[in-house]
């Protein structure tokens, strides 16, 4: 009997590790170790094939003298700030669609549609939408102001044009999070507040938004991560141009280390480490918050 109990206790001690082993192994090899390897590579001068030369912090020092680095950093900031608009915009669309009229389910699905399509296709659609001579947007702007603007060919507007394309699916994502959140709002509280004559903005601000906090948290996470990961749209719509004005760190890194002509592995790794450090700030905030939720229940 004692022997049997010990066997079962053993089984319960090692079972979780057997269940975890394959997943942890894969995840360590392809995700955890590469992070440290990249940090390590960033201290070398390396073309990817020949021998590595230790250069210490030189790659980082060079970054500080590189104008492209500052352009990328600034664009990352613009992306981040403007992408956050997807959260209130998504809430607005969700409030607009949170009704029970006939056919509303189909409307909700179709509003969500842009999120399902790949960013490559979204990028192509918007390139076409912005195209000078025949694109719809220059036509509209031309009609309103008398002069057409080639959004993606103009250094002043190109980044904003790409971000607008990215906001389209991102708003759809936030909308679906808020629709789910609105669906789970406590109706008694809403009715009680209505009795107290709360309506419109004050109702939204004091009763609804506090109850939507879990949805807002997830919307924040996916929007911040999405903004800092932006790569596909830039690659499809502008290839970083005109004159490198739409580069962000992720694209700048790709140009330096991964593209056809990119052989500066050390330099590229250093850019990646900077982007990683920026994201780590947000990742830490998210993890702490999730940990608190975990402890509370």
């Amino acid at each position: 009997m004692a022997g049997l109990r010990r066997k079962r206790w053993n089984q319960r001690t090692y079972a979780p590790w057997l269940f975890l082993a394959p997943g942890m192994l894969m995840f360590s090899i392809y995700v955890v170790f590469p992070i440290f390897q990249s940090i390590w590579i960033s201290f070398y001068d390396w073309d990817g094939l020949g021998p590595k030369t230790w250069v210490g912090l030189d790659n980082y020092a060079n970054l500080l003298d590189d104008e492209s680095f500052y352009t990328s950093l600034q664009n990352n900031l613009i992306w981040l700030l403007l992408y956050l608009l997807a959260i209130p915009a998504g809430l607005a669309v969700a409030l607009f669609l949170n009704q029970s009229v006939t056919g509303i389910r189909l409307y909700k699905s179709l509003f969500f549609f842009p999120f399902v399509i790949s960013q490559v296709v979204v990028g192509l659609i918007f390139s076409w939408f912005y195209a000078p001579d025949f694109g719809l947007l220059p036509k509209i702007i031309g009609f309103l102001t008398g002069s057409e603007i080639a959004v993606l060919a103009d250094e002043r507007y190109a980044t904003y044009g790409v971000i607008a394309a990215g906001l389209w699916p991102q708003i759809a994502y936030c909308m679906i999070l808020y629709l789910t959140g609105l669906n789970n709002i406590n109706p008694e509280q809403v009715e009680a507040a209505r009795m107290d004559n709360a309506k419109g903005w004050s109702m939204l601000w004091h009763i609804i938004i506090p109850q939507l906090r879990p949805a807002t948290f997830i919307a924040m996470v996916v929007t911040v991560i999405g903004a800092l990961r932006s790569f596909d749209l830039i690659s499809i719509m502008t290839v970083g141009g005109p004159y490198g004005s739409t580069r962000v760190l992720s694209y700048f890194m790709y140009e330096q280390a991964l593209s056809e002509y990119g052989v500066a592995m050390g330099y590229g790794a250093a850019i990646a480490v900077v982007l990683f450090a920026i994201m780590l700030v947000f990742i830490s905030i998210f993890i702490v918050r999730m940990l608190q939720q975990e402890r509370n229940g």
Binding site: I29, I35, L95, V101, I117, A215, L275, I283
Partner: protein
């Protein structure tokens, strides 16, 4: 319910709302409608500057068959399936195991392992790219669908573990406890008791991962060089360069490339949204 149900508002508000819904939808999908209409235009329309007017003909069959004849898109689509389907099976399979371990067993490093998966899921791809490409090269898997699948399975295991673990936590634990009292082995509990209850989670994750991987562009570009392994996202970028101003073909190809995840979404809508909005209601 908030906002106030439309049925309880004044008749003029109801009328405006009924009218506003389709208008807002058309505006919202305007770029997409534009590309869909362009994909069936005869090329003479584009040459004559008829970009937004009524198409002068309905060239659906001509344009779509030209896309397949003049490009490798058939191959690209096949490659996308060859990458996507094994990834879905691998990542969902692995995360059934990891999610179960983290949801059911109490051990000291449980939360650390869990948050390692969660945090890894958020890192920028660029910090992984150089070492992952080198590793894939040294395994002889560079420029193969297997190489892409290996990475995708590993990376997606992060998100899938988060999902599965939270799902299993919501299952009645008493079920597992009583099986343990009966002396059922840990593996049999997992396989015969928990797995059957995980079907909705497996379905939701499968559609989500299918869409994520189908739409992946960065890794498709970094890890696939030749046309015979290139997935459709990377292929589209090449076709855009090849066809330049033949927008009716680019439009048709875009629609073709977008179709599988769109079909998946409409067929499995409930699961898709349940997966995407996990955590949006509690916490």
């Amino acid at each position: 319910m908030f906002p106030t149900p439309i049925a309880r508002t004044a008749p003029w508000v109801q009328r405006i709302y009924k009218w506003l819904l389709p208008v807002a939808l058309v505006l919202w999908l305007l770029p997409l409608i534009g590309i869909a209409v362009t994909s069936i235009r005869p090329s003479s329309d584009l040459a004559a500057g008829n970009y937004f007017g009524w198409p002068s003909g309905f060239n659906f069959i001509e344009n779509y068959s030209t896309v397949f004849e003049n490009s490798n898109i058939g191959w690209y689509i096949l490659n996308s399936f060859k990458v996507t389907i094994p990834t879905v099976v691998g990542a969902v399979g692995l995360s059934c195991l990891t999610g179960y371990a983290l949801a059911v067993y109490k051990f000291r490093s449980n939360l650390i392992v869990f948050f390692m998966f969660v945090a890894g899921n958020f890192v920028p791809f660029q910090i992984l790219a150089i070492p992952v490409r080198n590793l894939t090269l040294s395994l002889g898997m560079y420029n193969t669908t297997t190489g892409l699948v290996m990475f995708h399975v590993a990376f997606q295991t992060g998100f899938c573990t988060l999902f599965m673990r939270n799902f299993i936590k919501g299952l009645p634990f008493a079920l597992i406890e009583s099986a343990r009292v009966e002396g059922v082995s840990e593996w049999k509990i997992f396989w015969h008791i928990v797995m059957p209850l995980m079907r909705p989670a497996i379905a939701a994750l499968s559609v989500l991962i299918f869409t994520f991987i189908w739409n992946d562009y960065f890794w498709a570009t970094v890890m696939a060089q030749s046309a015979d392994v290139r997935p459709v996202t990377a292929g589209m970028n090449e076709l855009k360069g090849q066809w330049k101003v033949a927008w009716e073909l680019i439009a048709a190809a875009s629609i073709i490339a977008a179709l599988p995840p769109v079909a998946m979404f409409f067929l499995m809508q409930k699961h898709f949204i349940a997966g995407l909005t996990l955590g949006a209601t509690k916490g």
